[in-house]
């Protein structure tokens, strides 16, 4: 049994994914490694000792040879306590504390059976991207399909990397579902993720995919119910709910 201790994490780089989401590249000495889908607990401490903790999924895959870097991708919630600090205040060289990795269920590794269906709502794409990245790093052969629901083109995380993955044709397909506004010329009008899109861009139930569904609570409820209605075995549907609606 390994005790999860709080570790100092130093921000070494950061980049904006969208106007409201920032990827933090953290250096965490002696990082024990992680599986894609796991998360860390982040703890902030104010000068007077007041502390706040929140969970954030790890976005990066852990390199085979180890390493002390990990990435988190945080969406700013305007009225939030922790996320606006992480997106707008934390600067290069600053430290936060984290502990982990946490979670042994919402994880993919090469032993997970079957093809993989990833269903993301908004920032729920973060742990799913870690899975896509780990698959590439491990040169795993299981085919992946990602169905990623987002409000508008301005809300797309990991744009370049997803395009590369698409073009590379190495067994990862990504399909975007725009809920509020779509890019010019997009073949379908914006609207919520529905059974038709999951049937067309996911896997048929008899392919027995392992499904990972992540996003805000309401999104995960809807998407997981749709998958069950499409005949997927609930035992093969793993979910992670980020809170919020």
């Amino acid at each position: 049994m390994r005790r999860l201790t709080w570790r100092a994490a130093t921000l070494v780089a950061a980049r904006w994914e969208t106007a409201a989401a920032r990827t933090l590249v953290l250096d965490v000495p002696d990082w024990p490694g992680h599986l894609p889908g796991q998360h860390v607990d982040v703890r902030l401490t104010a000068p007077d000792g007041y502390q706040a903790q929140r969970s954030y999924s790890i976005a990066s895959a852990w390199p085979a040879g180890g390493g002390s870097r990990l990435e988190l991708t945080v969406q700013r919630l305007g009225d939030g306590e922790v996320s606006p600090y992480l997106t707008d205040v934390l600067g290069t060289g600053d430290q936060i504390e984290l502990r982990g990795p946490v979670g042994g269920w919402f994880v993919w590794d090469r032993h997970v059976p079957g093809p993989v269906l990833l269903v993301a709502g908004g920032s729920g794409v973060v742990p799913l991207m870690a899975m896509v990245r780990a698959r590439a790093l491990l040169a795993a052969q299981q085919p992946f399909r990602l169905v990623y629901s987002l409000r508008s083109p301005e809300d797309l995380y990991f744009r370049r990397e997803l395009e590369q993955v698409q073009r590379g044709g190495r067994g990862v397909e990504a399909h975007l579902v725009y809920t509020r506004s779509a890019p010019p010329g997009w073949p379908v009008p914006p609207g919520r993720l529905d059974a038709a899109a999951l049937a067309e861009h996911g896997w048929p139930a008899d392919a027995e995919p392992t499904c990972f569904v992540c996003g805000p609570t309401g999104f995960v409820e809807t998407a997981a119910n749709l998958l069950v209605e499409l005949g997927h075995d609930p035992q093969r549907i793993r979910t992670e709910r980020f809170g919020g609606s």
């Binding site: 100092a8 934390l90 936060i96 609570t217 609930p234 979910t239 709910r241």
Partner: protein, 199 residues
Amino acid sequence: MATFSPGFGGRRRAARDDLPPGQYETHDFPVLSYGPTPHVPRDTWQFTLTDENGARRSWSWQELLDLPQEDITVDIHCVTKWSKFATSWRGVSLDVLLDDVETSADFAVAHSYGGYTTNLPLDDLLDGKAWIAHGYDGQDLEPEHGGPARLLVPHLYFWKSAKWVDGLRLTTTDEPGFWETNGYHAYGDPWREQRYWGD
């Protein structure tokens, strides 16, 4: 070691002394589950108590409702850091269900529709500490929150309050359940911040 987070002031929305360490207060009711929400019809719902020798006893939905009901107002604490104060529930005390059970078991494993399990010391289910809850805030308990019925064990982190509960199995040895085998603490006392293995 508390690393200083320059520029972090905090919002202190929950500077209450009845808030366990590391928690913050929420007024929503967030949902966390490892899979899809099972939708269990009341007319097929059953709750089965199995003792350490395998003897079983079951209650149907109507039989549950025919037992003495309690209204319970308690604070609840989720390991994902939110706490919710003064939540109100309706349900049956486990003291009632376990009343005439003779057992030498020290532990129980709660089982749920959908396959979820969680382990608890039997003592933590007795003496007015735990219920099978089927009402929330004056309404039937919604499926997302574990309806038709869930375990309610408010003095432990909320993953112990198994949603969609369909049974309790008494055991003489402690058998870790779903989250307990996936990195979370075997007991889960919020006041001692027992979140993960080794806490």
